[in-house]
């Protein structure tokens, strides 16, 4: 009996020592790197493998819910990050993360090829990887004889009464982007009047994008309104995910009054490998793979786009944006005011 307990103690001590040695990391370049992202992240088979073949570094993926949840998780694990690199923070939540001091600055040499309007942070704590525009989409079938709206002002026309569904900005990311677009266009003084007029013109509100697009939007199989707040990339997606091959997209984009969301990657735990991964995400291989997987546009200029993106959508020439710091300072108040104004 006594001998057995001594054995157990020895075993426990050995395990403890083993655990300790394992816990002390060897101070070398990590050969495995963790990329934390939101649950819309997607990449073709073989792309990350190409990175591994090139650099010897394997990438392990972690998802952290949606984009808002991703930022919260990064803030909460600041002292002991779960990942080396974060991808998927956008300009609506950027300021919060920068204020929290989450990121290690890194100016990738690949930034030379990136559209300079996307480089928001002069200190390069975040690197733009892609962008997407939240725009009105309309069901082409509903506008065969009458013209679709061309601007946000048109939506106030009685001709479009009861034809628009938007998402609640308190619960939906595209809903928030659309609210921000109206604030960018009509200003702090005018946006509330615009929304009051939209309400008078019988705008419908949905809690989230899924309900608005599949439940309300007639172009998405719904049975409500023929105009919806969605993305500039939604028509190509509707073609790619159609049941039968389509020659033409069933929906189209209104290119006025779009809000540009820029998605960034950033380093949470600095290492040569983390920097190599950022460089790789700006490389032609990764950039060309973005559109068909995440349905956003590559940040690198001149990246070839798939034919569906060329034929069925247009990148808006004058997308709206707001300074991330302004968004951070006012987001809560705007949503409150919107709620009081718009919700029944």
């Amino acid at each position: 009996m006594r001998q057995r307990s001594i054995l157990i103690w020895l075993l426990a001590a050995a395990l403890f020592l083993a655990a300790c040695t394992e816990a002390e990391p060897v101070d070398a370049e990590p050969t495995e790197i963790v990329l934390m992202t939101h649950d819309s992240f997607a990449v073709s088979d073989g792309v990350l493998e190409a990175f591994t073949a090139e650099t010897g570094i394997t990438v392990r993926l972690l998802t952290a819910g949606d984009a808002g949840s991703l930022v919260n998780q990064a803030v909460l694990t600041k002292d002991n990050p779960t990942a080396d690199v974060l991808f998927g923070i956008d300009n609506t939540f950027l300021s919060r993360a920068l204020d929290a001091g989450l990121f290690v600055a890194y100016e990738s040499p690949e930034l030379a090829g990136v559209d300079p309007t996307l480089i928001v942070d002069p200190e390069h704590r975040v690197t733009p990887i892609d962008f997407g525009d939240v725009c009105l989409n309309y069901d082409k079938a509903a506008f065969e004889t009458t013209p679709p709206p061309a601007t946000l002002d048109d939506l106030l026309d009685p001709a479009y009464a009861g034809q628009l569904v938007v998402q609640n900005p308190a619960t939906s990311s595209p809903g928030l982007a659309f609210l921000l677009a109206t604030i960018a266009i009509y200003g702090e003084e005018g946006w509330q009047r615009y929304w009051a007029d939209l309400v008078a013109n019988d705008v419908a509100i949905a809690p989230d994008w899924e309900t608005a697009y599949f439940g309300n939007f007639t172009g998405g199989g719904g049975s409500g309104q023929p105009i919806v707040v969605s993305y500039a990339s939604s028509p190509p997606a509707a073609v790619i995910f159609a049941e039968e091959p389509l020659g033409e997209a069933p929906t189209a984009v209104v290119t006025d009054g779009c809000f540009r969301q820029i998605e960034f990657a950033a380093i949470l735990r600095d290492s040569g490998s983390a920097r190599e991964l950022i460089d790789f995400m700006l490389s032609e291989t990764f950039q060309a793979d973005i559109p068909l997987n995440m349905f956003v546009f590559p940040a690198r200029t001149g990246t070839p786009l798939p034919p569906e993106f060329v034929e069925h959508t247009t990148v808006p020439s004058d997308p709206k944006t707001l300074d991330p710091a302004v968004i951070e300072a006012n987001r809560d108040r705007w949503i409150d005011e919107w709620t009081r104004l718009v919700l029944p």
């Binding site: 963790v34 649950d39 919260n72 439940g215 199989g221 049975s223 509707a238 049941e243 068909l292 029944p344």
Partner: protein, 529 residues
């Protein structure tokens, strides 16, 4: 005194709860409160807390009452009668319980939205209907578990002595069932109290639970202090309700003779009529919203077909694995979560069910807390707390552990009423005859408890299959569960994504029904181990 020799059984549940619930939740609340220094009054008044709290409480109470009204007749029929398809019905009724709110919400809106048969959108009735839909399984399993073991000769005796059917039920059966009804009510209440997806989708914006308010604070405002304060309010409310419940419960149990299965065939046309009528009613209430999803999964451009099912086997870039692998993931997480929940919850039930002391009431209340705590609080709690000594935050094991945390209360609530109903005299007789406490347990308690433990196992498995909130925080992209896969499909435009989401939902229904049937089968065969 009856608890002698079983105190050890509390150790594992306590450690599990302390490490995977209390520690993470306290940690995140401390972090949240430290995020800034606004006053309580400022933060809470901002969230319209009084309205939100009042709505949270009353809709939960209303949902509980309605679920009992609809669920008890179904529990009675399944517990008391043998009829063709009884096992299938019992397993099938578990399906709604696991369905993701995003697809059920869509089905409810199709039926009772702006273009449905009746327009209830934005009204509280739609929320209540959805809560009843979700929770009938709880009443059927928890109440039915005890009802099926009640000795029918008691009620027969009352009838022979001249009591009407109703009087016999009211004065004999109902008091005996009270512990199980109270247990089921507490679960349904907590589920509705922390309802999130249903309220968000069907609530028409004005109606919010505290759970929704917490999520909005975190999600759109990135306001951790506000969320922490709301979470504290939620926890205080849940704790008060649970303590009141446990104290009431510990005093009220009636000891009785339990039998293994008291179901018999209906007799006469009238009884058959009642049984079939209730079965048909249950099928309509539960079946129609599910039927909508199945129909949509089979609808393709060129008529009816299984195309959406076929495409699920193909590699999709949004998944990193073929979506069908989500079935395997869900099954394996479900089995592990079920085992953890049955072991932890079973041990806890032994301690609670065999003791009348105040400490057991506390223990009982604390074990129920995870069910009344928001998924955001638990998910974020894991993140800030579980990085040392072993970093579990990104471990695959955290998924079944999180599921088990929510499933343990179901096991406790199903098993305790049965344990409390066992007559002390049986145990005492065994003890007098020289049986050690362990032997008494094995020969007296276990055979009666085994059946309810298996009923609980079915629920625990279902909880794991359907869990979504906490899983989104911790699931890894290469190991999606079925609800997560459904959600990913719905996140993209295009008919194919919608069709595949519906197909995936149908697969989730079938998987649930099959697995729960298998567990139920063990239950009837393993009745006397």
């Amino acid at each position: 005194m009856t608890n002698r020799g079983f105190g050890w059984a509390a150790v594992l549940p306590l450690v599990f709860l302390a490490y995977f619930f209390v520690y993470p939740v306290v940690s995140i609340l401390i972090v949240g409160l430290g995020a800034d220094d606004r006053g309580w009054a400022d933060v809470l008044s901002r969230s319209g807390l009084t309205d939100v709290a009042w709505f949270t409480v009353w809709q939960a109470a209303a949902s509980t009452v309605l679920t009992l009204i609809v669920g008890l007749p179904v529990a009675w029929v399944i517990a008391r009668f043998r009829f063709p398809g009884r096992a299938a019905l019992r397993a099938g009724l578990t399906i709604p319980f696991v369905m993701p709110t995003v697809v059920v919400g869509a089905a409810f809106l199709a039926l009772a939205g702006p273009r449905g048969i009746v327009d209830l959108s934005g009204s509280v009735w739609l929320i209540l209907a959805a809560h009843v839909f979700y929770n009938i399984a709880v009443v059927v399993r928890v109440v039915g578990g005890l009802w099926g073991s009640l000795d029918p000769s008691l009620e027969d005796a009352a009838r022979v002595l001249g009591a009407s059917r109703w009087t016999a039920f009211r004065t004999v059966t109902l008091p005996l069932l009270r512990p199980a009804i109270a247990a089921a009510s507490s679960i349904v209440f907590l589920f509705s109290f922390t309802s999130f997806g249903v309220v968000l989708l069907l609530g028409g914006f004005r109606l919010r639970t505290i759970e929704v308010a917490i999520w909005q604070r975190v999600q759109t405002a990135l306001d951790l202090r506000g969320a922490a304060l709301l979470a504290i309010v939620q926890l205080i409310g849940v704790t008060a309700i649970l303590l009141a419940y446990s104290r009431y419960q510990a005093r009220r149990a009636t000891r009785q003779q339990l039998v293994v299965d008291a179901a018999r065939r209906p007799v006469g046309a009238r009884q058959w009529g009642v049984v079939l009528g209730i079965v048909a009613g249950a099928l309509i209430v539960e079946g129609i919203p599910l039927g909508v999803l199945v129909v949509r999964s089979l609808r393709t451009a060129d008529g009816w077909g299984v195309r959406w099912y076929q495409t699920l086997a193909e590699l999709d870039s949004a998944f990193f694995v073929p979506p069908t692998e989500a079935v395997a993931n869900s099954l394996w997480f479900g089995v592990v979560a079920m085992l953890i929940a049955v072991i932890v919850g079973g041990l806890a039930a032994i301690v609670i069910g065999r003791s009348d002391r105040g400490a057991a009431a506390w223990f009982d209340a604390v074990l129920m807390l995870p069910l009344g705590t928001s998924a955001v609080t638990i998910g974020f709690g894991f993140l800030v707390a579980l990085d040392e000594p072993v970093d579990l935050r990104t471990s695959i094991w955290l998924v079944p552990i999180a599921h088990a945390l929510v499933a343990v209360p179901f096991v406790v609530r199903t098993v305790v009423p049965v344990l409390r109903s066992i007559r002390h005299r049986l145990r005492e007789a065994a003890a007098v005859l020289g049986a050690a406490p362990a032997a008494v347990f094995r020969h007296v308690d276990l055979p009666l408890v085994a059946r309810s433990l298996l009923a609980a196992a079915g629920l625990a498995f279902a909880v794991s299959l359907g869990e979504f909130g906490a899983t989104t925080f911790i699931a890894r992209p290469d190991a999606p569960t079925l609800p997560i896969a459904i959600f990913r499909f719905l996140g993209r435009p295009g008919e194919a994504n919608f069709g595949q989401a519906m197909a995936m939902s149908t697969i989730l229904m079938v998987v649930t029904a099959v697995v729960v049937s298998i567990i139920d089968r063990f239950r009837s065969e393993g009745g006397d181990w």
